[in-house]
Symmetry: C2
Subunit: 194 residues, 2 copies
């Protein structure tokens, strides 16, 4: 019924487009199938449910975000500065998506609200990255010793205002960046050896 063979990747792209156009509330599997020119039964051959479709779209985006976040850790910069860059890169990626692609970002927020595994996996990734740079900072003598796991959790908890999608509606504040930097500075100061 179509030229190209139907594969998971193009279904994800079509779903992304449908979510962008209709939003997470109105988007249907039938819309996705219509956009692809196939029956909705064919979509269900590749994805077990509507929820799995949405999760695949958000996972693909979060993979990009995580790449950007991980990229800040490749340089030979000192751990405190690396932690700052890690956090601000994550904030910037989410702020940009929330502003430029609000419907897709809304889908992310919906998944987070319903405790999707995609979102907990993302949190686990960020926690791990933060934990790793804290360990390096402790080893290098930049950060005071402590339980890295608990410290990483505290860093994520303390910055939720700037990365948790429940706060997306407040991300148009003019002083947002200044406030984010103030919190990050406070945290870095708190981690440092004295």
């Amino acid at each position: 019924m179509r030229g190209e063979p139907l594969d998971a990747e193009s279904i994800v792209s079509a779903t992304e487009e449908v979510l962008r156009r209709h939003g997470p509330e109105k988007a249907t599997v039938l819309d996705v199938a219509r956009l692809l020119g196939v029956s909705h039964g064919s979509v269900y051959r590749h994805f077990p449910s509507k929820a799995a479709l949405r999760e695949a779209v958000i996972r693909r985006w979060l993979d990009q975000v995580e790449k950007l976040v991980a990229a800040t850790q490749e340089t030979g910069t000192a751990p405190p500065e690396r932690l700052r860059r890690l956090l601000l890169a994550m904030f910037a990626a989410k702020w940009a998506k929330a502003g430029e692609d609000p419907e897709l970002f809304g889908t992310f927020g919906a998944l987070a609200a319903e405790h999707s595994t995609v979102c907990s996996a993302h949190t686990a990734f960020v926690l791990d990255q933060v934990r790793a740079v804290i360990v390096e900072g402790v080893d290098a003598g930049d950060f005071a010793a402590g339980e890295p796991e608990a410290l990483a959790r505290a860093v994520i908890d303390a910055t939720c205002h700037f990365h948790d999608p429940v706060y997306a509606v407040k991300w148009n504040a003019p002083d947002l960046e200044a406030r984010a930097e103030a919190v990050v500075s406070l945290i870095l100061s708190g981690l440092r050896t004295r």
Copy 2:
């Protein structure tokens, strides 16, 4: 039509009871009037709108919270410990209300979501208390110098996980208190002179 004269205070109490029983979605001004045994017109003599009623209920509760918070500042304790107690007292007050009186706390959350002046006034109060103890801490040499306004904002932003009603659904986590203490310790460490 009733023994006692109708006054604002008893209307607020009746509204509180109706909100507790029906929740913020289902509670109506007619319910309040029925509970008081008066017509709803009489309620409107004392309060201009349904929104004003809900706000009065929440303001009365927040007044109590603010008293508790302010009470932590009366002792002759050093500023860092006072800031810790201030924050943990505020957290505890909200955690308790969310657990013991979920419908009323839900009303607070609803007001916060719709940017009610009651909530911004509460935020302003807490910000001011935090700013004051930071100033004292700087003067006493406990805290490093800095812009008190921005620092207070950073402290509130960094602890939103533990006091913002949008997070109430997560306040049953077993490690909540430990995580709150970890964040507060990190913040206090960040504020301290080095």
